[in-house]
């Protein structure tokens, strides 16, 4: 039930009765080779979206080299035993399809979308990429050179530099600390390493196939079986990395970009993963703090003070560890003022219970946004992927909104106290040192780096 308790003026129309959400029906299956399958109908247009996930990514491959799963994913679309790169691209176009291959810390994936009438050939191509990628030498050298330029370019983007530094600070020696490889590491990638990652990760026991769209699920399941059943391969053994140290005390990390005309602020601390029982409470606390337009942080540093266009906070769940972050790009003169307000709003949530009306507004927002995500094929795919990849309960979608409605002001305050770790927030500022150094130093001991990661002081 929607329960708005913020009382708008009497002329504002009231909400009418809420309509029931038709929860998507999922047809689940598992092939003898271990491949998990989830099929979801959505008939709005004669298309479908799909994603073949592998449950290992850059973290699992980090023993060989950073970013290796990403490079492997790049190579997967550049040639198979049966099709050269150019053929793959033309065939995709002929099927009216888009396809991308990528890897994050915890997963690798082949994502695709196309016309329902060509579902079978498109799945055939996906199957081929997952099983028969051939890693041609010329393609590897070209993609390596592309990656080198990409890695250089990243170092000119304030958002990247901030994210890179924060992850390093929060995760230390753990693979999650590294969001992108260095030029040297990319230059040293060996073809055999890429093929090892491919052989170990791209297996049916390690995979989940998700399809959402305009098809008849039973018939689609038969098609999927016909295409994917002959595949075989074991789940890879994943080395466990030691737990990262949780940094104590506020510290400041300044990344010096000469000539920057604005400062990117990014602060963060360890929090929790999606599997943690406090996850929904934390999500709601974040939404109220800085996750929504109508949140305290946005009201404060954007709408009242005009310091920034883009303030936001986020809870970032990786598979093993999660972290909370808050960011804003602000003009130089207000770096200290912006940090002060960020911490003021954090400390206020930790110290004072949230008024019931404000909580109800946030509950409505979070639960409405969730329902909205079910209204498009790709939104649905991403919701269902979240449930499956995190091994959340089968009724997670159906019960999520009730969980949100059940959160109390006490829950919120205790989530803020536990996970908005004010005293131990790590502060990254990316900007021109001469304009911001003294402001940033007010918030803790400061280390200064250049954009290449060299320590300056």
């Amino acid at each position: 039930m929607a329960t708005p308790t913020t009382q708008p003026s009497s002329t504002v129309p009231a909400l009418s009765a809420e309509r029931e959400v038709n929860w998507p029906k999922r047809l689940k299956s598992k092939l003898a080779n271990g491949l998990e399958i989830i099929l979801v109908e959505s008939h709005s247009i004669p298309r479908f979206h799909g994603e073949l996930f592998f449950l290992t990514g850059n973290a699992a491959a980090s023993g060989l080299a950073p970013g290796l799963a990403g490079m492997t994913a790049t190579m997967v679309r550049t040639g198979t035993a049966r099709r050269a790169s150019r053929q793959i691209e033309e065939d995709l176009r002929r099927l009216g399809a888009d396809l991308s291959t990528s890897a994050g810390q915890d997963t690798s994936s082949i994502a695709f979308a196309g016309l329902s009438e060509f579902a079978e050939p498109l799945l055939g191509l996906v199957n081929e990429l997952a099983r028969e990628a051939s890693f041609p030498d010329a393609e590897l050298e070209r993609e390596r050179r592309q990656k080198l330029e990409e890695v250089k370019l990243e170092r000119t983007q304030p958002g990247f530099l901030a994210g890179e530094r924060l992850r390093k600070v929060l995760f230390g020696e753990h693979p999650y600390a590294k969001i992108s490889p260095s030029e040297k590491e990319v230059a040293a990638y060996q073809k055999e390493e890429l093929k090892t990652v491919y052989r170990q990760s791209y297996t049916p026991e390690n995979a989940l196939l998700l399809l959402v769209g305009d098809f008849e699920p039973r018939a689609m399941l038969e098609t999927v079986k016909r295409i994917f059943a002959p595949w075989s391969g074991k789940k890879p053994a994943v080395p466990q990395a030691a737990a990262p140290a949780n940094p104590r005390g506020r510290r400041v990390y300044l990344v010096h970009v000469p000539g920057a005309v604005q400062t990117q602020i990014l602060c963060g601390c360890h929090s929790i993963t999606r599997k943690h029982p406090d996850w929904v409470k934390l999500g709601l606390t974040n939404s109220l703090y800085g996750g929504a337009f109508n949140s305290r942080l946005v009201m404060n540093i954007r709408e009242a003070k005009g310091y920034t266009y883009s303030p936001r906070s986020a809870v970032n769940p990786l598979r093993q560890y999660g972290y909370f972050s808050v960011s804003a790009a602000v003009r130089h003169e207000v770096v200290a003022a912006s940090l002060t307000e960020m911490f003021y709003e954090i400390d206020k949530l930790r110290s004072l219970p949230v008024p019931e009306g404000e909580l109800a507004d946030a509950q409505n927002y979070v639960s409405g946004l969730f329902s909205m995500g079910l209204a498009t094929q790709d939104g649905l795919l991403s919701q269902i992927a979240t449930v499956a990849l995190n091994a959340l309960p089968d009724d997670y979608l159906e019960t999520y909104r009730d969980k949100v409605r059940g959160v109390t002001p006490d829950d919120l305050q205790s989530a803020a106290q536990k996970y908005f770790d004010s005293a131990n927030m790590q502060i990254v500022v990316v900007g021109d040192r001469s304009k911001i150094e003294t402001q940033a130093a007010l918030f803790g001991d400061q280390e200064v780096f250049d954009a290449q990661g060299n320590r300056l002081s």
């Binding site: 003026s9 009216g96 005009g306």
Partner: protein, 437 residues
Amino acid sequence: MKGPQIAIENKTLGNGLRVVIAPDSAAPVVTVGVYYKIGFRLEPQGRSGFAHLFEHMMFQGSANAPKMEHIKLINSSGGVLNGSTMYDVTNYYQAVPSNALSRVLWLEADRMRALKVDDENLKNQRDVVKEEVRVNVLNQPYGGFPWLDMPAVAFRNWANAHNFYGDFADLDAASLADVQAFFKTYYLPNNAVLLILGDVKPEEGLSLAEKYFGDIPRGPEPPFADPNEPPQTEERCGRVEEKFGTLPAMAIGYLLPKRRSAEWYAMALLDQALHGGRAGRIYRDLVLEKQIAVEADGGVDDIFGYNGPAQMTTKILHKPEISSLATLAAFDAVIQEMQEKGIGADELEQLKIKWRSDYYAMLEGGRGGYMPKYGLMHLLACFSLFDGEPQLVNTILDGFSEVTPQQLQAVAKQHLRRENRAIVFRAPTNPGTQEAA
């Protein structure tokens, strides 16, 4: 091949407000958009960036919904909202659980009726917009490239040639009087279209539209400056400094044929042939095969969304060891091949299938996974305001499927000429950096 047919009801209210309803009860969500037929192209001279600044002001308060009330009421109803300023339109949109439909319409009607903002609001949003320009343009590698660099090089009419995000001096000069004058001139029911999509019954949508918007007074038809360009007779070139990035870049823009002419349909498929992802000829040639470029993409951005001069623009970042001239020569070779040899029936068939698939995706898709039916809303709004025919959404595909190889080649010869293009070179001031030891 008959595609999905979108059910549409449309009507013009007594005050000139066009209303388009596209019912679909699959999800209990309704998307409401209001499009005003004014974009940054026709903002007042001496007030560059004003249309966009004004868009921000539309969130600062109306007669019965003070600052933040609109945002607060949408978020607390479980919905999301935003707005954007484009060349020829400015849109305001929200997606909400369908039980909040009346509330959304009330809010949109309230700010169409009267804007209630003060100097403090204006100062606040001027500051916010400056940070927006810094975060998106001034503090980013290749920020605003090429969409902010190209106009001054390509066009001669101020409407098309000025800085759409705004010079800071012009933003500073904007006054509250400018805000109210702009509002009175362009934000009129007879210069707008209201779109209601999703979980709504047509008769309910139409009667709610009448109830909330029906008594907003019509205004004088807004004066529109002529956005047309004097004929171009020579290739135009310009150079812009790149402060952060290390790769040389260039953008090549060709003027598009007139909206919905036979050439325009052919140009759209020609654009796909050249820019359609990794199979597109430019990426294939410059990045995959010759390996001159690191990035080569672009095309016509939002082909349905223009009501004046527009370009098909290729954006290239190339390797520093290859000269700009050599890169441009490789690009020209791709164009020349298209002009001389045209396109085979098989390639054109692939392009048409992909085009159809992309069009369906637009009908269904949201924006950023959270604004359902954004694509359909945009199409219906543009077809209403520019063509007077929202029903085009169900028929416009035919025009693309009828394009022949001969037409495509003819358009390449006729429109991809040097006298029809402009080139911007974006040159790094600081090429090359040293990696950490």
